[in-house]
C-alpha cells in the first residue's frame, strides 16, 4: 500500500457519487415520465393511446438492447453538444442518464401496473381527472414498489459509472482500470472494489428502509 491510495480513492469516490447522483436524478425524471406514459396509454388505460405506447415501447427496447459501452460511444457527440466535452464525469452524466432512463421507465411501468384496476375505477367513478388519478392514486399506491424499483435502478447506474470509467469518465471504475489494471496497482484495484461494494450496499439498505417505512406507515408491513 502506498500513501497516494486514500487520496486517489477519495477523489474517485467523489467523482462516482457526482455521476451517480446526477444521472439518477435525470434518469428518474425521464424514467418516471416514460413509465407513466406507458401505463396510461396502454389499451384500457386512463388515457388510452396504444400507438403512442407502442412507439415509446419500441424506442425503449431499442436503447435497452444496446450494450452500455456502445451506447456511450454513440452518445459522445451528444455529450459534446450539451456539456462541451466528451470526457470526464459531467460528459458521462449525459450518457448515463439516457442509458438508464429506458430501464427505469420499464421498472416504473411494472410498479404502476401493480395498482389494482378497482382503485383506478373508484377514482374514475368519483369524476377524477386522469392527472388526479396519476398523482393521487397511481403514484402513491405504487410508492413502495416504486422506491424498490428506483433502488435497483440507482445500483444499475452505479455499475454503469464503473463501465463508463473505462472510456474516460473518471470515478472509481476509471481508477480501477488506469491504476489497478494498467499499472499493476493491486492495492488500488482491491480498494476500489471494496468501496464499490460498500456503496451498493448502502444504496440498497437506504432503499429498503425507505420502502419499509412507507409500508409501516400504511400498516402494510
Amino acid at each position: 500500500m502506498r500513501d497516494d491510495l486514500f487520496e486517489l480513492l477519495w477523489e474517485g469516490l467523489l467523482e462516482t457519487l457526482y455521476m451517480v447522483a446526477w444521472s439518477s436524478v435525470f434518469a428518474l425524471i425521464i424514467g418516471i415520465l416514460l413509465g407513466i406514459i406507458l401505463v396510461v396509454s396502454e389499451k384500457g388505460g386512463i388515457l388510452e393511446a396504444p400507438i403512442v405506447g407502442k412507439i415509446i415501447g419500441t424506442a425503449i427496447n431499442g436503447v435497452r438492447s444496446l450494450p452500455f459501452i456502445i451506447l456511450i460511444v454513440l452518445l459522445l457527440p451528444l455529450s459534446r453538444l450539451i456539456v462541451g466535452t466528451s470526457l470526464g464525469p459531467t460528459a458521462a452524466i449525459v450518457a448515463l442518464s439516457i442509458g438508464a432512463s429506458p430501464f427505469l421507465g420499464r421498472i416504473i411501468e411494472n410498479s404502476l401496473k401493480e395498482v389494482s384496476a378497482g382503485k383506478i375505477e373508484a377514482a374514475k367513478a368519483m369524476g377524477a381527472t386522469p392527472l388526479t388519478i396519476i398523482f393521487r392514486v397511481l403514484i402513491p399506491e405504487a410508492l413502495p414498489a416504486l422506491v424498490r424499483g428506483m433502488t435497483i435502478a440507482v445500483i444499475a447506474i452505479t455499475e454503469f459509472t464503473a463501465v463508463a470509467g473505462a472510456i474516460g469518465a473518471g470515478g472509481l471504475g476509471s481508477l480501477a482500470i488506469r491504476f489497478g489494471y494498467q499499472r499493476f496497482r493491486e492495492d488500488i484495484l482491491i480498494a476500489t472494489v471494496i468501496v464499490i461494494i460498500l456503496l451498493v450496499q448502502i444504496i440498497q439498505l437506504s432503499g429498503d428502509s425507505v420502502a419499509k417505512a412507507i409500508l409501516k406507515k400504511r400498516h402494510l408491513g
Binding site: 378497482g118 375505477e121 373508484a122 369524476g127 393521487r136 392514486v137 400504511r218 400498516h219
Partner: protein, 261 residues
C-alpha cells in the same frame, strides 16, 4: 329517476363476440332501492357499470336525474359522475391514505375548500359509525368497516344515486346485515336512490322494494320484490326461490311430524 333505454353491450375477444347486455329497458323511481339479481355472468355487473359509464354501452341511452349520461363528453361526464356514488365488492379504498383522506378524496376532486371538507367528512364518518377511526389506514380495518368507509366516500359529495356493485358479497352474513341496515337508513334519511346488483337473495329480501332479474344479458322479470318471492316467472327467479321453497316444505314436513308424535 333513472331511465335505461334499449341498452346494448357486447365484448369482443379475438374473433368471438359475447353479448353482455341485450336490449335492456328499465325505469327506476327516485328514492327507490332497486335490486338487480342474476347468476354469475348474467350481465348484472356490466349493467351497473354502464350506469356511470365505467363501461361504455354500444348503443342505447341512460338518463339519470334528467341528464342523458350517454350524451355527455369527457368533462361533463366527470361532473355528472360526482353525483353518482359507487361502492364495490373489493371496497377499492386507497391503502396510501387514511380513513379521513379516503373519504375526503371525492371532495378534493370536486375542489371544495379544506374547512368544508373537514366538516363534511366528519359528518359522513359519524353517519357510518366510524368517527373514532379517522386516522386509521384501510389495512387496519375489518371488511365491514372498509365498506363503511366506501359508503362514506360514495356519499360525501351528496349524490342523487348510489350504485352498489356486489357491495356485500365479500362480507360475512352478520356484517352484510349491518351494511344493509346502514344502506336502508341512508335511503330513508337522504332520500337517496340506490341501485344494487347481487346474487344473494337475502339482500333483495332485506332492503329492496323493486327488482329486475337478468338472464343472459336480458331483463326477464321486473316488479316488486314481494312479487318475485310469491310468483316467480323467469327461470333464474324460480331457481333462486325454489331453494327457499325447498326449506319451507322441509320445515313444514318436520314440524308436521313433530306434531304427529
Amino acid at each position: 329517476m333513472i331511465v335505461i333505454k334499449d341498452l346494448h353491450k357486447t365484448y369482443t375477444s379475438g374473433s368471438s363476440t359475447i353479448t353482455a347486455l341485450d336490449n335492456i329497458n328499465l325505469t327506476i323511481d327516485k328514492g327507490d332501492i332497486f335490486g338487480i339479481i342474476g347468476f354469475s355472468g348474467a350481465g348484472k355487473s356490466s349493467l351497473i357499470r354502464c350506469l356511470n359509464r365505467l363501461e361504455e354501452p354500444d348503443s342505447g341511452s341512460i338518463e339519470i336525474g334528467g341528464k342523458v349520461l350517454t350524451d355527455l363528453s369527457g368533462k361533463e361526464l366527470r361532473l355528472a359522475r360526482r353525483k353518482i356514488g359507487m361502492i364495490f365488492q373489493q371496497f377499492n379504498l386507497l391503502d396510501s391514505q387514511n380513513v379521513f383522506q379516503n373519504v375526503a378524496f371525492p371532495l378534493q376532486v370536486a375542489g371544495y375548500p379544506k374547512p368544508f371538507i373537514r366538516e363534511r367528512v366528519r359528518e359522513m364518518l359519524e353517519l357510518v359509525g366510524l368517527s373514532d377511526k379517522e386516522h386509521m389506514y384501510p389495512s387496519q380495518l375489518s371488511g365491514g368497516q372498509k365498506q363503511r368507509v366506501g359508503i362514506a366516500r360514495a356519499l360525501v359529495n351528496e349524490p342523487d344515486v348510489l350504485l352498489s356493485d356486489e357491495a356485500t358479497s365479500a362480507l360475512d352474513p352478520q356484517t352484510t346485515y349491518s351494511i344493509l341496515e346502514l344502506l336502508q337508513d341512508i335511503n330513508r334519511k337522504l332520500k337517496l336512490t340506490i341501485v344494487l346488483i347481487t346474487h344473494e337473495l337475502d339482500v333483495l329480501q332485506h332492503i329492496c322494494r323493486h327488482m329486475a332479474v337478468i338472464e343472459h344479458g336480458s331483463i326477464v322479470e321486473t316488479g316488486t320484490v314481494d312479487k318475485l318471492f310469491m310468483d316467480p316467472v323467469s327461470y333464474t327467479a324460480r331457481r333462486f326461490v325454489s331453494i327457499i321453497d325447498y326449506y319451507r316444505d322441509k320445515r313444514s314436513i318436520m314440524e308436521g311430524l313433530g306434531a304427529g308424535i
